[in-house]
């Protein structure tokens, strides 16, 4: 039977005062960034995006060709991005935190991959003549991005993402109601959850 030897650390010095000070400053900065990201989703910005999406649903429903319908929604995506960027920047400035340190970076990181995937699959579906599946795909992938990004945020955000995903899944099986699903998702869900977030966590 072997003997047991206690391993005693050799005269380890505790961290120096300035190291602890730097560690504390880092902790404060990280906590503030996390807290800003937590409530950094702009409620009224979402409401504005919802209103423009409702208008886009109405306009796109009048279009005769798929290309024209797609152009309306691409324009809407650009407008929504601008509104989201501006309103998040405004909210981050109010909290005296740089946009790209907290909410902006997290939203960009979580939404970019599904949006990129959505753009590629849209081209594939268009070429295959399966344009009826595109609204469901967009809702589903946008919801995926919101759920993943929303994990760092207030509980309303991932719940909104799940609603988008559910709506997208249903839309796949109801291609005739595409514009209604787009209006309900990008319009309705943004407005309902935007009001909820704005009332609870400020604009």
């Amino acid at each position: 039977m072997g003997s047991i030897h206690l391993v005693v650390p050799q005269n380890e010095e505790p961290p120096a005062l300035h190291e602890r000070a730097m560690d504390n400053l880092k902790y404060i900065r990280e906590t503030m960034e996390r807290a800003t990201a937590f409530t950094g989703i702009p409620g009224w910005g979402q409401v504005a995006i919802g209103i423009t999406a409702l208008a886009s649903s109405f306009i796109s429903a009048q279009q005769k060709t798929f290309k024209a319908w797609l152009a309306v929604w691409v324009a809407e995506a650009l407008i929504a991005s601008l509104i989201a960027g501006w309103s998040m920047d405004r909210k981050a400035r109010a909290a005296k935190m740089p946009l790209l340190s907290g909410p902006g970076r997290k939203v960009a990181f979580s939404l970019s991959p599904p949006i990129f995937a959505g753009a590629i699959i849209t081209v594939v579906l268009y070429r295959a003549g399966l344009t009826g599946a595109i609204p469901g795909l967009w809702l589903l992938l946008y919801g995926t991005g919101v759920v993943t990004g929303g994990m760092f945020s207030v509980s309303a955000v991932p719940i909104m993402g799940l609603c988008f995903m559910a709506l997208g899944a249903i839309a796949f099986f109801s291609p005739g109601l595409a514009n209604w699903f787009m209006a309900a998702g990008f319009g309705g869900l943004h407005i309902v959850f935007g009001v909820l977030i704005a009332r609870r966590y400020g604009g």
Binding site: E13, P14, P15, A16, L17, H18, R20, A21, M22, N24, L25, Y27, I28, T31, M32, E33, R34, A35, T36, F38, T39, A95, K96, M97, V154, R199, Y201, G202
Partner: protein, 130 residues
């Protein structure tokens, strides 16, 4: 959903004495004595709560719990200390039938955080100069 506004707001009066003897840590050779750090917010959890509240207009108990990744008991103990110290204000209300506890940083709390930050910066500056 009916939202009842502030039912009870309290800002404590009692204050935990500031640390006067956080002089030095071993390894620092006592060359750079620490300034009188505010022990109330020097504690990690309380420092986190104050920092989170400084970045937001207000946060609910559940928001803070989720942000600080802690338990109900731990959070309520530290939040109560900050409240007693006058660093945060607590508002209890009902959202529908559910009780809601909301915290806001007070002017004294914000000042304490700013002082703490400046103490930390002073320590680092002194070390770089030496």
């Amino acid at each position: 959903m009916a939202r009842q506004s502030a039912v009870k707001t309290s800002v404590g009066k009692k204050r935990e004495p500031a640390a006067t003897d956080l002089k030095s840590v071993a390894g620092d050779k006592a060359r750079h004595p620490a300034p009188n750090l505010d022990r109330m917010i020097h504690e990690r959890m309380r420092l986190g709560i104050i920092s989170a509240l400084a970045a937001n207009e207000s946060l609910t108990f559940n928001d803070l719990k989720s942000l600080m990744n802690t338990t109900d008991g731990n959070l309520s103990v530290h939040a109560r200390k900050l409240e007693e110290g006058g660093y945060v204000a607590c508002t209890k209300s009902f959202e529908g039938r559910l009780p809601k506890t909301e915290y806001k940083i007070t002017a004294a709390g914000r000042r304490a955080l700013e002082n703490y930050l400046s103490h930390m910066e002073t320590i680092i500056r002194q070390m770089r100069q030496s």
